[in-house]
């Protein structure tokens, strides 16, 4: 069973539908017991980092998320579910996050008409390493992004994929042991997104 953690940070329907499409058995939940019993976890999220962190706190899920990552269970963050893993985000006047990945989440600088914020649409990801989740995925494949803030880590050993926008190259996919997270939306990235989700459903959490 895959637990899709519901912390009132956006719409999880499409994540569940995509997991089901690739044969995964998923439940949307904020129940700690269900999350603990799941054999893998998806940590999604859209919207603002500040609200996301407040909701995690209110639901007493912040410590649980850290414990679950430490347990070695396959763990997949998506979008804001990636951003809140960092030390902090510039969003909402500066938000302290979970501190699992060293680095900050920063605001893109808009420069209309060429560069709009949010970045909205399909951008390519340059993969820096091999990984079981990338089985069958070509380098520089296109994925769907929608975000105004971008993750930037100082420790390059965490970077699995990079993407360029608005004059910066940011960490669009990060990894560490049993943890993987994407800034792009796997559930909205067509066949390549579904393939990574399918790989996640069969992954044992080791590299």
């Amino acid at each position: 069973m895959i637990a899709i953690i519901d912390y009132k940070a956006g719409n999880l329907t499409s994540v569940k539908l995509a997991v089901q499409k690739v044969g995964g058995d998923a439940i949307i939940t904020s129940d700690p017991d269900v999350i603990k019993a799941a054999d893998r976890i998806i940590f999604p999220g859209v919207g603002a980092a500040g609200a996301a962190m407040n909701n995690l706190d209110d639901l007493n899920l912040d410590t649980l998320v850290k414990e679950q990552i430490a347990s070695g269970k396959p763990f997949l963050g998506i979008c804001v579910g990636l951003q809140v893993l960092f030390d902090m985000s510039e969003e909402d006047g500066g938000t302290d996050c979970l501190g699992i990945v060293p680095g900050q989440v920063k605001l893109f600088k808009a420069a209309p008409p060429e560069t709009k914020v949010p970045q909205m649409g399909w951008n390519s990801v340059n993969f820096l390493d091999k990984h079981p989740l990338l089985e069958g995925i070509e380098n520089n494949s296109y994925f769907y992004f929608v975000h105004s803030y971008y993750p930037s880590t100082s420790d390059r050993t965490y970077i699995l994929g990079e993407t360029s926008y608005a004059g910066v190259t940011f960490s669009s996919m990060i990894y560490k042991d049993n943890l993987v997270a994407t800034q792009f939306h796997l559930e909205k990235s067509g066949k390549v997104g579904l393939k990574i989700l399918e790989n996640f459903c069969g992954w044992d959490g080791t590299c």
Partner: protein
């Protein structure tokens, strides 16, 4: 790099996809879900569905259709028509739509943009606007006036002012649908699109008038559109999405292939 998006638009009337010219003379084209799957398989970047009779019939958007689409395509799609409250927005998003598009509703009640943006995130809220060229420069200094009901009703609102206001209220994207160009397949209203795109920070989607790949090159390169909505040229079978993307790629436009 971020690619330009090609977005097929499906106008729904009585549960079927239809297509008109200048918002009139609609003909039936097919089943929305089947057509969505076809365009998804063919490589479109996103889809938009307008339930064009929902508002007139005073009913909410067809949620069963939204669900059926979400169960079959795994790319973003927006829905519009029949969105008259936060509750309607929530229903459409929970059914699996990525975005909801507001048009007339936002004109009557601009605060809905801020409320929707706060509740669901700016990226979910799209402003659709139907501007028409006007001589009334006193009221509309940009030269374009916002209409309702696809050009049948004038509002006296200036198109550029409306775009800026909507951005401040928190929309994540603006769809500029030129009433003059709609359904003509003679090219987009370039000056209108350019003006809006140069004056807002959020993505701008050009809509109305696209009949061939060159029209898209023009609206991307000259008018700085971030995405383009197409309908007639693919619904008739004159073009496939793949063919459009091949042509755009040859003409130097970055597209996802």
């Amino acid at each position: 790099m971020l690619t330009k998006r090609i977005i097929p638009c499906l106008d729904i009337r009585d549960k079927k996809v239809t297509k008109g010219v200048k918002f009139k003379n609609n003909v039936i084209l097919g089943d929305p879900v089947e057509m969505a799957i076809k365009y998804y398989e063919d490589g479109c970047d996103e889809l938009v569905f307008y339930d064009i009779t929902a508002s007139a019939e005073g009913r909410p958007i067809d949620i069963d259709m939204v669900k059926a689409v979400a169960e079959n395509i795994y790319i973003p799609f927006a829905v519009g028509g029949g969105i008259s409250s936060l509750k309607d927005m929530e229903m459409a998003l929970l059914a699996g739509a990525e975005k909801v598009s507001v048009n007339s509703l936002a004109i009557i009640n601009p605060a809905i943009i801020a409320e929707g943006s706060k509740a669901f995130g700016a990226q979910c809220i799209v402003l659709g606007m139907d501007p028409i060229k006007t001589e009334n420069l006193e009221k509309c200094p940009s030269g374009y006036e916002i209409t309702r009901r696809g050009g049948r009703e004038f509002t006296g609102i200036d198109a550029l002012e409306w775009a800026k206001k909507a951005e401040n209220l928190g929309v994540g994207e603006i769809v500029v649908n030129s009433v003059d160009a709609d359904g003509t397949r003679q090219g987009c209203e370039l000056e209108l699109t350019k003006m809006i795109s140069e004056n807002v920070n959020v993505p701008v989607v050009a809509s109305g008038g696209v009949g061939c790949s060159q029209h898209m090159v023009d609206v991307f390169n000259y008018a700085h559109a971030d995405a383009v909505i197409i309908a007639g040229m693919i619904h008739t079978g004159d073009y496939t999405i793949q063919q459009i993307k091949e042509e755009l790629s040859e003409m130097g436009v970055a597209v996802r292939r």
